[in-house]
Structures are given as C-alpha cells and as structure tokens.
C-alpha cells in the first residue's frame, strides 16, 4: 500500500508525535486546556489561554458532521482515483472541530446530512502514519 500511496503524507513534529503514534494504534487523542477544555490540533501550549499545563486525553472517536464538500476535481494528482470524495469538518463529541474525510462510496448531498453521527476509522497509509477518518454510524 505504501509504495502506491501518492497523497501528501504528514510529517509528525515533537508536539504531535504522540498524536500520530496513537493514531497508528487506532486511537484518537486530543490536547486539553485547563481553562478552555479539549482542542484540536495538538500543540503543547493551548491556543488563546496560552497555558502550558495541558494534557493528553483519549477521545471517544464519536463525532457529528459539521460541514463537508464533495470534491469532483482532484486537487492533487494523488486524489485522481478517489473523486468524487468527501472532505469534511466534523465536531468531535469532546467539542473541537477536526478536518477529515468521510468514508463513503458514491457520495451525494442526499447521503450527507449536517449533524449525522459518525465514528472514527483509521486508514494506515504506511508503516508510520494512520489517518483518522470518519464513517456514518
């Protein structure tokens, strides 16, 4: 699979190694700020409150569909075989919004309802990285 994979591959950084390590184990983890609660994307110092005493929490993997697009023109050569596919922003049960894909064959607006319940599913793109994606419950 990894030899064929032609899409952009994220480069974990010191602040996100844990996030990607856990994703490889098919777990979704978030950072939590003592003032403003869970946030995405992970960084050690929390946005807005600028607190350093943040911690990692394990997310349930449950979410609802906040918004989406059905992409018909591949925005990168790696996605040519995927169109049409769904890019989405989902609202995690813990509160933060998260960018992702909705796993769905032949997507149409009729099949995609704002607020519909979703559950995380991990796509292992190589031996280091698994992308958290979401599918309808």
């Amino acid at each position: 699979m990894s030899k064929e994979y032609k899409k952009p591959i994220p480069s974990p950084q010191g602040e996100s190694d844990f996030y990607w390590e856990k994703a490889k184990q098919e777990e979704l983890w978030l950072r939590e700020c003592p003032v403003n609660g869970p946030y995405f994307y992970p960084r050690d110092i929390s946005p807005g409150a600028l607190r350093k005493d943040t911690k990692w929490i394990k997310a349930t993997g449950k979410a609802t569909l906040f918004t989406y697009s059905i992409v018909h023109r591949a925005p990168h050569p790696g996605f040519i075989d995927d169109v049409p596919f769904v890019t989405a922003i989902v609202e995690l049960e813990e509160g933060p919004l998260m960018p992702t894909n909705i796993i769905m064959n032949d997507p149409t607006p009729e099949k995609l309802k704002i607020g519909m319940p979703l559950i995380v599913e991990f796509e292992h793109i190589n031996d280091k990285i698994a992308l958290p994606k979401f599918k309808p419950v």
Binding site: P8, P10, V71, I114
Partner: protein
C-alpha cells in the same frame, strides 16, 4: 486613527502590460511592468519612490529588480488581502515620517507557472488538512459555503451564488482586459460542472497571469500631481485563523470588524458607499463578505444581491471590472480591486464607468477566508 483619514492618497495605478494567459513572463517581470506603468500613471519618476511594499516575494527581490533603494520596506503577506492592508501600512509609515511615497507591486504567473503544495509537510495545515485533500481553495471555501447553506437554506444560497456569478460576468463583458469574453446565463451557471460541491465551475475564480501596482503618497505631493488624488479615508485589517478547520465561524469573516472600523474612521456609513469592490475568489466569498461588512444582516445576503442588483444598471454596483470570477485572478487578486476602485473614482473606466462615484469600499480576503483588509477611498 481618525486623524489619519485623508492624510495620504493613491496617485498612480496600473496593471502589467498584459493580464490573462501569458506564458513567457516571470513574476518579477509582471512586478516591473506594473511598477513602470503606475509611476507613469502618477506622473512621477522612479527617484520619487522611497518606500516599497509587496507580498509573495521579498522587497529585496523587487527593489533590486527595479533598481530602487527604498528606505522603508514591508513584505506583509497574508494572502490576497495583503494589498488592501498595504494601503494601511503605507499610510502609517508615511505619517510616521519613515518615507513620503510608497510603491506597492504585485506580479504572479498564477496560470502559467502554477505550483502545487508540497515540500514542508510539518506545519499544521500540512499535517492535519492536506493529507485529506484540503488542497487548493475551492475545497476549503466550499465547506464554508455548505455550512452557510445549512444555516440559511440551500435554495436561497444557490440563487445568491448564481446572481453573483451572472452579474459579475455582465461587468466583465464591459472590460476589454477581462479574460472571460462570453455572456453567462443563469442556466450556464447551473449547468457548469461540479468542482467541489456545492461549488460549480462558475462559483470559482479564473486563474490568470499578471501584475499590478499602485502608489501612495502624502497629501502635499498628491496635490501637486496631474491626476486627481484618490484619498484614503479609512482602513482596517486583521485575521482570526489560517486553515479553514480553525475558522471560528464559517459564515463570518474578519470583515465583521474591519467594515465598521474602516467606515467609522472614514466618517461614513454603508449608505454613503457608491461602489463596492469585494474580493471574489468565489461567489461565496462575496456573500459572506457583504454580510460580514454589515451591508446586510447574517443570512440576508441572498435578498441583498437578488434580481441582479449588483449588475450594470443595478442600484448596488459591485466588482465593475468583472472581478476575480471573470476578469483576472493571479492568486493574490487584492491588487486589482484597488486599481478598479481608483479608476472608477477618477472616471477612467470607459463603457463600465459609473455615474460620478465619489466613494468606494474595497475589501480584500486572503487565505481560507482568513485575513481581511478593508479600505474606504474617496475623490473630491
């Protein structure tokens, strides 16, 4: 800020020698042609320029290329709105005494030297959005638009997008420099192919090559030049996110702050504005921006633009150059908003000329609906 109102003017504007599909020119050549033409339009000399601003490249590059030795420079680059924000920065620099006359240039072979994201995959957008295909602005903006549809109704949103696409094309047909030359009907809009649902092809700006430049100078110099100065009455800038999934409200841009603030500095209200130049990377950009600026309330945009109100002959003329949708969009289109605003106020726009406009509100939007620069201009 109010005491800076009318302290500086835009005195020269120009495009590069050509805009459109131009395959043999570099970014810097577009900068240089536009700079040459803007200096000529102002009736000035290169030696009059002592401040230099650009975005997308460093002023180290543009100054050397042009042989200028500026004593004040600024390379603020926050996307297509940068060139509205540069007006504010030029105003601040001139009033602080750092320089007297600022040249602002733009050049981008957006069509013929198109780049794709790659390289650094470590920043937040590259780690958390690009791997999912959030690449290029149609994807990001269409997700924001889908949220708007959810809140305010799919059918009325769709009609508003169509109204904006069709009215903007009507203006383009009156601009000889416009890339799109054919009329567009509502059916043409609705039948155009899907790029990124809910966006049709005709919801998206064109991608062209070109450059532009303008010159800002202090009042005393402006009054000594051959053309009537276009005064800067109000400015405001800011941003509240970078990548689309971090946008606090997908239906409200930072223009919610800059619109009221720029108008307040100008001492004007929305009703005083004769022409609106609103960054139209996408039809939805216009819808969200008009509401955010305060021309109408959230969700009322579809009523505001209904019945071709923004088209030639309508009572709210907007994007009279044909916009990024139909005239020219190099990548950072905000430069071209300024050029049209100045030309309309001077009465230089030929077939599309409005009847003696005195005021124009220019609003640039950059990134993923991320940054905003609002400028209010007027002519005596």
């Amino acid at each position: 800020m109010s005491d800076l109102s009318r302290s500086v003017a835009i005195v020269g504007v120009a495009e590069s020698d050509e805009v459109g599909k131009i395959e043999n020119k570099s970014n810097l050549q577009f900068h240089a042609e536009a700079a040459y033409n803007a200096i000529e339009d102002a009736g000035m000399k290169a030696s009059d320029i002592d401040g230099l601003i650009t975005a997308g490249t460093s002023t180290l590059n543009t100054a050397e290329f042009l042989g200028l030795h500026p004593k004040y420079t600024d390379t603020t680059a926050v996307g297509g709105s940068s060139f509205e924000i540069h007006i504010a920065h030029a105003m601040a620099a001139i009033n602080a005494g750092y320089c007297e006359t600022v040249l602002v240039t733009h050049g981008e072979a957006g069509r013929s030297a198109r780049n794709r994201p790659g390289g650094n995959m470590s920043d937040p957008g590259s780690q958390y959005e690009l791997p999912y295909g959030f690449i290029g602005q149609p994807v990001s903006y269409s997700m924001a638009c889908r949220r708007y549809m959810h809140l305010y109704g799919e059918e009325r949103t769709r009609q508003a997008l169509a109204e904006i696409a069709v009215s903007t094309r009507k203006w383009a047909l009156k601009n000889p420099k416009a890339y799109m030359k054919d009329p567009m009907t509502f059916d043409d809009y609705h039948e155009s192919r899907w790029i990124s649902w809910p966006f049709h092809l005709f919801d998206c700006c064109i991608v062209t090559d070109g450059g532009g430049a303008y010159i800002v100078t202090k009042k005393e110099i402006a009054n000594s030049l051959p053309k009537k100065p276009v005064w800067v009455l109000g400015v405001s800038e800011g941003h509240d996110h970078n990548i689309i999934s971090q946008m606090p409200d997908l239906t409200r841009t930072w223009a919610r702050n800059t619109g009221p603030e720029a108008l307040k500095m100008a001492g004007l209200t929305h009703d005083d504005i004769d022409l609106a130049m609103i960054y139209d990377s996408f039809t939805y950009t216009v819808l969200a921006t008009l509401e955010s600026l305060g021309f109408c309330k959230p969700g009322e945009g579809p009523d505001f633009v209904a019945n071709q109100r923004t088209a030639p002959g309508g009572d709210f003329p907007m994007n009279t150059n044909g916009g990024g949708l139909s005239y020219c969009h190099t990548g950072m289109y905000g430069m071209f908003l300024v050029l049209e605003a100045v030309r309309q106020l001077r009465g230089e726009t030929g077939e599309r000329q409005l009847d003696n406009p005195k005021t124009c509100l220019v609003n640039g939007t950059g990134g993923s609906l991320s940054s905003t620069g609002t400028v209010v201009l007027a002519i005596d």
